[in-house]
């Protein structure tokens, strides 16, 4: 599996963990109040900010783990294979992070899909205000759309790396 693909999977896992944590936190925050609990906009904002911080930290830890596990895996593989035993690992090949034209095309196409999700979330958030929901609901809807956008973008990238991508 290519390094870029592993990195995308790691992003998917991190976003999944962070969003699950967010759902549990919001659930605990609301308690028995239902959607009326979102009247506490500050409390909602604090939960979202903590989640953003958690995501940044988990992304950094994830990248470090990806490199460490990748390097250990490659050295074990080198030792198992009699032909490569004792040879140095080509780190350039192992962590091939060159962003070439195909990557740029994939990034462009996937970010367009991600933007659609974020746009939808923005519209839904505004609609929630029109429907007289608390302002906190809008924050949650928009934050959820960012997270969903990230998931869809990463999943779309995985599909394109697997199936290929065409111009146009």
């Amino acid at each position: 599996m290519e390094y870029k693909v592993r990195r995308i999977i790691m992003t998917l896992v991190v976003v999944g963990i962070v969003y699950l944590n967010f759902v549990f936190k919001v659930n605990g925050f609301l308690g028995n109040q239902g959607l009326e609990g979102f009247a506490d906009v500050k409390g909602t904002a604090i939960i979202i900010l903590w989640n953003v911080l958690l995501m940044v930290i988990l992304m950094i830890v994830g990248h470090i783990l990806l490199h460490v596990i990748g390097a250990i895996g490659a050295s074990v593989k080198n030792e198992i294979n009699p032909e490569t035993r004792g040879q140095d690992i080509d780190l350039e090949e192992l962590f091939d992070d060159v962003d070439d034209e195909m990557d740029k095309l994939i990034n462009l196409k996937s970010s367009q899909v991600g933007f659609i999700m974020v746009g939808l979330g923005f519209v839904l958030g505004l609609a929630s205000i029109l429907m007289d929901y608390q302002f906190g609901v809008m924050l949650v809807v928009m934050y959820s759309s960012f997270m969903l956008g990230e998931v869809v973008e990463a999943a779309y990238k995985l599909v394109m790396y697997h199936r290929g991508v065409i111009h146009g």
Partner: protein, 74 residues
């Protein structure tokens, strides 16, 4: 009038072996792209830009028409 569809095929795999069994990684390094991109081009999952096509041809010491060929169809 229908749009002309162009299917591009390539001989990269054969030409790599003709070039001292050049690996995908070696070709990728010579062309300035990742191994994954060369793999996708080779298997027809991605059509390179004209610039990259010339770079690949140069890395394989061939003319571009020897590396890439197109099949026209409706």
């Amino acid at each position: 009038m229908g749009k002309i569809k162009i299917n591009i095929s390539n001989n990269i795999r054969r030409l790599r072996f003709d070039n001292d069994e050049m690996t995908q990684l070696e070709l990728a390094k010579k062309s300035g792209v990742s191994r994954q991109t060369i793999n996708n081009i080779e298997s027809g999952k991605y059509y390179p830009s004209l610039e990259l096509a010339f770079l690949i041809a140069a890395a394989l010491n061939r003319d571009i028409q020897e590396v890439f060929t197109h099949l026209k169809g409706e």
